[in-house]
């Protein structure tokens, strides 16, 4: 009853012990939900996680001087081009303690995700204070409402299906988001606290060091802060300049990689740009090359439409709130990135910001979202839930604000019913998300790796280490060799040697293992082959089949007869 009473008057009561206890319980729960079954859900490590784990493992086994390689292109023959050095460093202690495993690679991510929630509380509090200071007395938020707003933001953030899923897979993103929020909060604080002016850009540097995804957003947030608070910053011009110089100086070692990463266009976009060019040429030719047709059907216009299309893919309401189908490898298709009810709160948040004429906050939220989503709209052909997760903080803050204001505008008698209704609705969708997230992941296609792992286990046990083994990875990408290295890491610091492959189909070569992208044209008697059962030659003598019930999914280990 006490709890219900507190919940009913959530937004008007003074901060009380019970509410702090509730927040504490939410934090504990959020940590649990981010670490529960971490090694098995999602079942397969991302290629990026495999690389982080392997590099961390390699550095752990080398001398200290090898750490300078964090800024090179590869470490121990693993491509390191776009991995944040800080992410690798953060992973090292966990690998040292728990060994090279899925859990030890993911745990820092979950931990960073959890710390981000706490940082978000700090950020939401700072933002709320700013909102309060920029409003007239009549409209200003009460302290208690402010507390409720920050607490509710924290609850929304902690239980966000998007953040829960991202927290379990990618240390770089979570670490970077933590530092980005710290930087944004410090920027807001530094406006009134000159002592912080020297340091406010450092968290942004750390976020770039965590993941190169943060290169442009960090610069953008710094610029937004400078534009929004140009008066305050110009009052302390020398300190501001020094802080910016610190940023530049610290970013310098990874500047080149940051720029390359931020301007890298994926193959899908390149193909679409070429298609646009051909289409424009065809249209112009069909219109007899008239000047007007050249103007109307210029491929530049189609390219612009393409980028707008990519951008709008990120704001598809059904994808955001009901059923996200963009990144099935990492995001459960049984839920949206937000819960359906969040849409109502979001609209309410926008509405109340507008009627309170709080244009500054509105512009701040919108520019954050646009700045985060613009780069991937130009560079990626698919919606990327990892990259776009950076829009989460302003959206969560906005929908928490909408929720509070909705309650505020309800008659007291109705608040009971609405609160119960919302809680039931929210609980249903949250439990639904958990049920499918933790039970249905085994149906993802990347699970095919398990079949390969069985084959690798067989060769590790039964095949001599001097025998050459050729693995055909024609099923899923080029990361099978990483999976193999991750599962059977060599004891030496170096993972083997790379031979310059004479055959262009060879992806990688490690010790006695060669990984190729299509079945070999010639088979040799002295070699052991691992490849999908559908591709094995007639003269093969099968040594082992993986356990899949589907014949076409089975992976075979075989040699060839005379």
């Amino acid at each position: 009853m006490k709890l219900f009473f507190t919940a009913r008057d959530w937004y008007t009561m003074k901060p009380s012990t019970i509410r702090i206890v509730i927040l504490f319980l939410v934090l504990i729960f959020s940590l649990w939900i981010r670490t529960y079954n971490l090694a098995l859900t999602p079942p397969v490590l991302l290629e990026k996680e495999e690389r982080v784990g392997l590099i961390a493992y390699s550095l752990l086994r080398s001398d200290f001087i090898s750490y300078q390689n964090l800024f090179s292109q590869n470490i121990s023959s693993i491509d390191n081009s776009f991995l944040g050095p800080l992410t690798i460093l953060t992973t090292i202690p966990f690998i040292k303690t728990f060994g090279l495993s899925t859990w030890s690679v993911r745990f820092p991510s979950a931990l960073a995700g959890f710390l981000t929630i706490i940082m978000f509380l700090f950020f939401a509090k700072t933002v709320t204070e700013k909102i309060q200071k920029t409003q007239s007395d009549k409209q200003s938020l009460q302290k208690t409402v402010m507390f409720s707003l920050t607490s509710l933001s924290l609850i929304f953030f902690a239980l966000s299906p998007w953040h829960i899923q991202i927290s379990r897979i990618d240390t770089g993103i979570n670490l970077g988001l933590f530092f980005l929020l710290l930087g944004a909060s410090l920027a807001l604080k530094a406006v009134n606290n000159p002592k912080l002016l020297f340091f406010w850009t450092i968290p942004f540097v750390l976020s770039v060091y965590s993941d190169f995804i943060f290169f442009l957003p960090s610069i953008a947030v710094i610029l937004i802060a400078l534009i929004f608070y140009h008066k305050a910053f110009s009052l302390r011009f020398p300190k501001t300049v020094i802080s910016l110089l610190i940023f530049l100086l610290l970013v310098l070692p990874i500047l080149q990689r940051g720029i390359t990463y931020s301007t890298k266009i994926d193959d899908g976009v390149t193909a679409l740009l070429i298609r646009n060019e051909n289409q424009a040429a065809s249209r112009i030719a069909y219109s007899n090359n008239t000047p007007i047709s050249k103007l109307l059907h210029s491929n530049q216009i189609e390219n612009l439409k393409l980028h707008i299309k990519q951008f709008t893919s990120y704001i598809e309401p059904q994808q955001l709130f009901v059923h996200f189908t963009g990144d099935k490898d990492i995001i459960s298709p049984y839920s949206g990135l937000f819960f359906p009810l969040d849409l109502i709160f979001l609209v309410a948040g926008l509405y109340f910001l507008l009627i309170q004429n709080n244009k500054k906050s509105l512009v701040f939220f919108l520019s954050w979202v646009i700045i985060i989503l613009l780069p991937p709209s130009f560079m990626s052909s698919k919606t990327n839930a990892l990259r776009s997760v950076l829009i989460l903080p302003p959206i969560i803050a906005l929908l928490a604000f909408g929720c509070i204001e909705l309650f505020h505008n309800l008659k007291t008698q109705k608040r009971y019913i609405v609160f119960v209704g919302i809680s039931l609705f929210f609980s249903y969708f949250f439990l639904r998300f958990l049920f499918f997230y933790f039970s249905s992941y085994s149906s993802t296609p990347r699970d095919y790796h398990k079949e390969y792992l069985q084959a690798f286990s067989y060769t590790a046990k039964h095949i001599s280490k001097t025998k050459r083994i050729i693995v055909t990875d024609i099923s899923f990408g080029k990361d099978l060799y990483l999976k193999w290295l991750f599962t059977f890491p060599p004891s030496k610091s170096d993972f083997g040697y790379i031979k310059k492959p004479s055959d262009p189909t060879i992806i990688s070569q490690y010790n006695n293992y060669s990984f190729i992208s299509k079945p070999p044209s010639h088979y040799y008697r002295e070699v052991v082959y691992i490849q999908p059962s559908q591709t094995i030659p007639k003269k093969a003598k099968i040594l082992f089949y993986s356990s899949s019930a589907q014949k076409e999914d089975q992976i075979a280990v075989f040699i060839v007869r005379k």
Binding site: L296, T312, F436, S439, S443
Partner: protein, 543 residues
């Protein structure tokens, strides 16, 4: 006033031009639905019966999708005047499209008067709304094809206009009841949209309507009378004729099919599974998903859905309308009064019928969105105009000039894409090729005793009936009309899935096939290949 009338007439002429110019040739070919409507109208004109031999049908069986016959009746005068041509079949849609643009001016004026009593401002805003609808890619697309949704949309526009006029003079309610009643008998979506919308209007204007109690009884009776055909079918165990299309497209049947493929944990945790993913929660979630998909900016402004529903590289609205739409929506949201209620009632109910179906988002089933979106865009333009009004003259000129250039460029690009590129790029989706196939057969009639047309070509018989203007009397009396959805025969034609083991030794036969079947069939020689405009094969004629 003179200026307003001149602008009104100019916009109406523009709307008429965009809807009537090259009506028979763009899109390049009628699709199966248009061909079916056309031939059924022709058949009713000549015999009083449709292709299935039903006398003065209320619903056309067509290909088993049971579409309301109202469009076919509208097409009869045009077919009578211009014979059975693509132009004649599409003409009612184009004329109703123009009527929608005409009605939108008055509707916008009435609606805006609920918000603001400034008549002059409302008149110019209404002209702007009318203009936006006149050049709307979404509306032009469906005003130029024989789709029932275009007619239903116009009737809904007029229905609401008459309702709003009825608030001042209750006699208009009768006209409103007729328009809404007809719309229910024209297309599927209004059967759900109209009752919900009318209920919403009753709630919004309840105070006024209570003072008009006596005057609304007759319109209510008239409106209910329009439900009698639907009631008749249900009472005579022919409800499937009303719900047939619904059962074909609704998401529930889709879910039923997929239930068999549920993963293993469906059986290992049956209680939890049915709680979270049983038919009811799954349906509700899918409906929400479908509903929200109609508010997707990508769908509205960039991609559209099916290629048959938009011009190449074009969305349903112009890209430049997006910011104005957003500003307009926000300004309506912040406004007070009945205008806001009616507007959002309309906007939020428009996608409801389509969200119950499987192919979402769907531009045809949500045509009723218009012209609410144009009203929001116009109000957005007004808002931004008021903002720039306070700026310097130079910036005003720059902003206005740039805006005009962008709008003009977008329109010209759309115009070029629709009228000059669409036939070239989308001939495939418009089932191009049957007219050429028939012309080849006519030229070589003496050579073949039998022509087999494969059903993989998607209801080819209706295209042959349509292009041949085959006498409906002969078709009905001699061949019994359309007997089956998969096998028809008339004249020397047989439309059927071809059994190649039987037909292999038939030297006097011509086979009309789709390219894939022609590759696997044991043919003697290909005598003619009809190609789409992109040079790929459309129809193969072979011996």
């Amino acid at each position: 006033m003179k200026k307003v009338i001149t602008l009104f007439i100019a916009i109406l002429f523009l709307a008429a031009f965009l809807r009537l110019w090259h009506l028979g040739g763009v899109p390049i070919s009628p699709n199966w639905d248009e061909a079916a409507i056309g031939y059924n109208a022709y058949s009713i004109l000549k015999t009083g019966m449709d292709e299935h031999g039903v006398l003065f049908p209320v619903i056309l069986q067509s290909f088993g999708n049971y579409t309301p016959a109202f469009y076919a009746y509208l097409a009869i005068p045009a077919i009578y005047l211009f014979n059975l041509t693509v132009f004649a079949v599409r003409l009612p849609s184009a004329l109703f499209g123009i009527a929608a643009v005409f009605g939108t001016f008055f509707l916008a004026k009435e609606l805006l008067s609920l918000r603001d009593k400034n008549v002059k401002k409302n008149t110019y805003l209404s002209l702007l709304v009318m203009f936006l609808l006149a050049i709307s890619p979404w509306h032009i697309q469906f005003s130029r094809v024989a789709y029932e949704s275009s007619i239903a949309f116009t009737l809904c526009v007029w229905g609401l206009l008459f309702f709003l006029l009825g608030l001042k003079n209750p006699r208009w309610y009768i006209a409103s009841a007729i328009a809404y009643g007809l719309s229910i008998n024209t297309y599927h979506s209004p059967r759900l949209f109209v009752p919900l919308f009318l209920l919403g209007l009753l709630i919004i204007f309840r105070e006024k309507l209570l003072t008009q109690k006596k005057q609304i009884i007759l319109p209510c009776i008239i409106w209910l009378l329009f439900l009698t055909p639907i009631l008749y079918f249900f009472l005579h165990n022919e409800g499937y004729k009303v719900t047939g299309r619904y059962f074909e497209t609704n998401i529930f049947s889709d879910i039923k099919i997929r239930e068999d493929k549920n993963p293993t944990y469906a059986t290992s945790r049956p209680v939890l599974f049915s709680f979270f993913e049983g038919s009811l929660p799954k349906s509700l979630i899918q409906i929400t998903d479908g509903y929200l998909s109609h508010f997707s900016p990508k769908w509205m402004f960039v991609t559209g859905d099916n290629d048959r529903h938009h011009a190449p590289s074009t969305g349903l609205l112009y890209l430049w309308e997006a910011p104005f739409l957003l500003v307009g929506l926000l300004s309506i949201l912040l406004s007070r009064g009945k205008f806001r209620s009616v507007f959002f009632l309309w906007l939020l109910l428009a996608p409801v019928p389509a969200s119950l179906t499987s192919e979402v988002p769907h531009a045809v089933r949500t045509l009723i969105f218009l012209p609410s979106l144009q009203i929001a865009v116009a109000l957005g333009i007004e808002r931004i105009y008021l903002l720039i009004k306070s700026t310097t003259l130079l910036s005003k000129i720059v902003i206005l000039f740039t805006s005009i250039i962008i709008v003009l460029f977008s329109f010209m690009q759309y115009f070029h894409l629709y009228f000059f590129q669409m036939n070239h790029e989308f001939s495939r989706v418009w089932q191009f090729g049957f007219a050429d196939a028939l012309s080849f057969v006519e030229q070589n009639r003496g050579k073949y005793k039998k022509v087999f047309v494969s059903n993989t070509l998607e209801q080819p018989y209706i295209f042959f009936l349509f292009y041949m203007r085959y006498d409906p009397r002969t078709y009905l009396l001699k061949y019994g009309g359309t007997q089956s959805e998969t096998r028809q025969a008339f004249d020397i034609f047989e439309f059927t899935p071809i059994d190649w083991s039987e037909k292999i030794n038939n030297p006097d036969a011509l086979y009309i096939l789709d390219p894939y079947e022609s590759k696997i069939a044991p043919l003697r020689k290909v005598v003619h290949t009809i190609r789409f405009f992109d040079s790929s094969e459309a129809i193969i004629l072979a011996e």
